[in-house]
Each structure stands twice: as structure tokens, then as C-alpha cells.
Amino acid sequence: MTAGAQTAFIDFQDVWLAYNDELFAAGQFAVEAIDLQVQPGEFIAIVGPSGCGKSTFMKLATGLRGPSRGRIRIDGQPVTGPLKISGMAFQAPSLLPWRTTVDNVLLPLEIVEPYRSNFKRKRKEYEERARKLLQKVGLAGYEDKFPWQLSGGMQQRASICRALIHEPKMLLLDEPFGALDAFTREELWCILRDLWTEQRFNVILVTHDLRESVFLADTVYVMSKSPGRFVVKKQIELPRPRELEITYTREFTDIVLELRGHIGAIRKTSPVVEATP
């Protein structure tokens, strides 16, 4: 563990977060005792019941929130504010309807340095880059369409492009494929897999979908609900590159089943009575 911590890209040491001082005084934490070491280029997935603090974890990892207790280091540096080396995408694509798809993808470059200062001068070059990225995710021919002319799956692809355009070292995805139909979802898994294989950024994928987490991730963490803790860490030893067919193999389903067992146990022991959905 200690040897890993020294080279780790993401390093959480006993991190606790309460959203405000009253909750802190009352001992009500959104996440508790998070210890996590992620190697450079590692793809991790976090699964758990809704409301278990997965989104809180995202805020901590991007520096949008500081921890109440504990230490977070990312890329060797203590986190003190928003981390520009990260890109984010959510379940809702939240593209701007008055911008074309390519202009939506360019938005981060208008904001983040060093691109911001050169944006006017190098616009052509950046646009070329955005178009290439869009073509890579299968949106060739849709670059100049408006987001509302695109299907949900296409919008989500564009949203992922927007998260990646400034070549972040860390990609955070909060249930990015949750609203898509099963076939589109599997298609996007493969696109994400290919992008990651090619560029090897770190990925933190928050999801409800166990098959998704096992197919994509190197390591899957299971989170419990209130308190929000990491209760299980599962290395996925399936060989890469992984094709969709692997999801129908015995090995794969065994892992999914095992994780499902952990989730089921959490839900049973959870002190909070859940409303039926």
C-alpha cells in the first residue's frame, strides 16, 4: 500500500466530508474514511446504491470541494482548488443549444489555460482537433448540426468529446450512459474503451450498471450508503482488449454476480429504510 501510495496518481488518505459545519458537528458525513490509491492510467469504476455519496466523491476528486478531514493528492500535488487536468461528463449531456456540436466541444478551450489565451489565434487548429475527436466517436457529418438535431446517444458522445478536448489527465464520468438504451450504451462502452486505450488518461466512472463497470474498469469499488464508504475493492483481471462478447462468458458473469452479492448485502444491512422505487 505504501509503495503504491508514492507513485499513485490519485491518492486519498482517510478522507471525510460533511457538507456543512452543522453536519460536521453532528458527525453526519456524506463520505467517510475514504482510502484510495489509483495508478496512472488506471480505469476505476465506483458502484453503489443511489445516494451513497458517489457524486460527492466526484466533487472531491475534481477539487470542487475540499475534504473536512484527511488528505487528497492528485498527480503528486495536494488538491487546493478546481483541477483543470480533469474533464467531466454527466448523465445529462447538457450541451448548449445555441452552439453547434463542434462549438460545444470547443467550449472548454475558451475557458481553460493555456488554450484560452491563444483561442482567437489558433481557432482553426483547435477546431480541427475538435472535428477529429468528433469523428473518432462516430459523429462525422454531425459536427455542424445543433445538439437538438442529434439523438440522445449522439449528444452523449459530444458531451464526452467536450470533456476530453483539453486532453485532461483524468476523466470523471457520472452515470454517463444511464439514460441511453441498451444497444447505444454498449456502443458507447466500446467508444470509451477505445479512447482510453489510445490516450490512457485516468478514468473514474460512477455507475449503477455492474456489467458496465466490469467490462470497462481495471478496478471496481463498491460503495455503501450512509455512511458512504468504500466497502469492496475488486480487481478485474479480464484480459484486454475486451470485446463485447466477453460479457457473455462465464468469468465475466461470475464477477458481476459476486459484485451483485456485495450490493445486495449493503442494501439489506442499510439502516435507512428505502422507499420502493
Binding site: 475534481t62 478546481p82 467531466m88 475557458i111 445543433f146
Partner: protein
């Protein structure tokens, strides 16, 4: 399909013609005297006879309204921007503005007369006071309804408040803004005419007031028609601008 679309397009015109015909027939059939309720024909005759004074009055009302409306846009946008971009400003300013907006503008006109005298001063100010509120509220709403996720995406990149406002908030507020202009322009005409009736020495309001006191109903009605035509024309103008600048917000209706 095509025929029904044509019908939809011309429906407002057809309805207007039908109503005018009904009005004319009703007034003629029941022999209503013109000092009670003039017929469309008599109003048209008045238009023809008093072309000069009506046009002059309409022009006076029009530019007084536009000056007041211009002020309303400037102040409404600034205040809306302020209260939409800062929670503290919102909490502080909004209740005051609501209270202020609830004051009947007709009650303010006499005060304005004391301050600015008879003339265009009260007209401009009443038009402004009555119409800036919807503009302010709509700009503020547009700015305040930002998806928290999108804000996270931008803040992580180191976006400043100003970046978020200019890149996302303002464009998002534009449909609200144009929508509010359509409402505000008609209100501004109401404000001007209101001031002209009590404190004006020119304009359609003054003309209606004078005609009314002389029991010249057809002329008063001609004044009413003039004011509605101006308000409708301005409404259509802003509607047109809205469609051509923020078409992305009305995509549902673009298809057909």
C-alpha cells in the same frame, strides 16, 4: 394538410374581419347612436377626416413610448443581470421590486406631474416604470436557471463567474429577454397613454381624453384603434426579432 395550414395562417385576419362585420351589423341593426358606441364605418370616417391630428398624436405617443421603453430595457437588463448573477443581490433587491411593481402606476402619474410638470416627462417615466419589471424578471430568471452540472463542468476548468455568465447565462437568458420585450412594449403603450390622459398636452391619450369630454365617441375610438395598431406592430416586430435570433429555443415550432 396544406389547406389547414393556410387556414391557420389567415385565421386571425378572418376572425378580425368577422368581428368588425358583426360589430357593424349589430350597431346598424339596433340603431345604437354614435355617441354611445360608434360603428366601424364611422370610426373609419373619423380616421379619414382627422388624418393629420391623429397621425401627429400617434407619432407623439409612439416616440414617448419608445424613449420610456428604451430606458426600461437599459435599466431592466442591468438590474436583471445584477439580481440574476448574485444571490445576495437577488435576496436584497427582489422583494423591493415586487413591492414597487405592485404600486398602481395610475397613482404615480399625479406625483410625476408635480415633479416634472405637464408634458412628455410623466409619459416617458410612466412607460418606463410600467415596463421595466417584466424585462428585469425575465433576464434574472434566464441567468439563474443554470444546470448545476454544466456549472461544475466549467468551474473545474477554472471558469470565473464572469465566464459562466457570458458564455452560458446570457445566451440562455435571450429567449426570456425577447419574450419579455413583447409583453413590455404593450405595457409601455399603456403607461404612455395613461400619463397623457391625466397629464399630457399631446398624444393619443390626450386626444382620447379631449374627444371623450366632447362626446365625440367615433374620434375617441379612432384613437383606441391607432394605439392598438401601434402596439400590435411593435409586438410583431419583437416577435420577428425573437424568431430570427433565438430560433434554437423554438425548435418545436420550426419543423412545421
Amino acid at each position: 394538410m396544406n389547406a389547414s395550414r393556410h387556414f391557420e395562417r389567415w385565421a386571425p385576419v378572418l376572425l378580425a374581419i368577422a368581428l368588425v362585420l358583426l360589430w357593424q351589423v349589430g350597431v346598424t341593426a339596433f340603431q345604437v347612436p354614435d355617441f354611445i358606441f360608434p360603428s366601424p364605418l364611422q370610426i373609419a370616417q373619423q380616421f379619414n377626416e382627422f388624418k393629420g391630428p391623429l397621425l401627429a398624436a400617434a407619432w407623439a405617443t409612439f416616440w414617448v413610448t419608445m424613449v420610456g421603453f428604451g430606458l426600461a430595457i437599459a435599466v431592466g437588463v442591468m438590474l436583471g443581470f445584477l439580481i440574476g448573477s448574485s444571490r445576495v443581490a437577488y435576496a436584497a433587491v427582489y422583494p423591493l421590486m415586487v413591492g414597487f411593481n405592485a404600486v398602481p402606476k395610475a397613482a404615480i402619474v399625479p406625483i410625476l406631474v408635480v415633479w416634472f410638470g405637464i408634458g412628455i416627462g410623466p409619459g416617458i417615466l410612466t412607460a418606463f416604470l410600467i415596463s421595466f419589471f417584466p424585462i428585469m424578471v425575465n433576464i434574472a430568471t434566464g441567468l439563474a436557471t443554470l444546470e448545476p452540472e454544466l456549472e461544475d463542468v466549467l468551474r473545474v476548468l477554472g471558469a470565473r463567474r464572469w465566464d459562466v455568465l457570458v458564455k452560458v447565462g446570457l445566451p440562455r437568458a435571450m429567449p426570456y429577454f425577447y419574450g419579455s420585450l413583447k409583453i413590455a412594449i404593450t405595457l409601455a403603450f399603456v403607461g404612455t397613454v395613461l400619463a397623457e390622459m391625466t397629464a399630457g398636452d399631446s398624444g393619443i391619450g390626450n386626444l382620447i381624453q379631449t374627444a371623450g369630454s366632447q362626446q365625440r365617441m367615433p374620434l375617441a375610438f379612432a384613437g383606441l384603434v391607432a394605439i392598438s395598431v401601434m402596439a400590435m406592430a411593435m409586438y410583431e416586430l419583437f416577435s420577428w426579432i425573437e424568431r430570427h435570433t433565438t430560433g434554437w429555443a423554438h425548435r418545436g415550432s420550426q419543423g412545421h
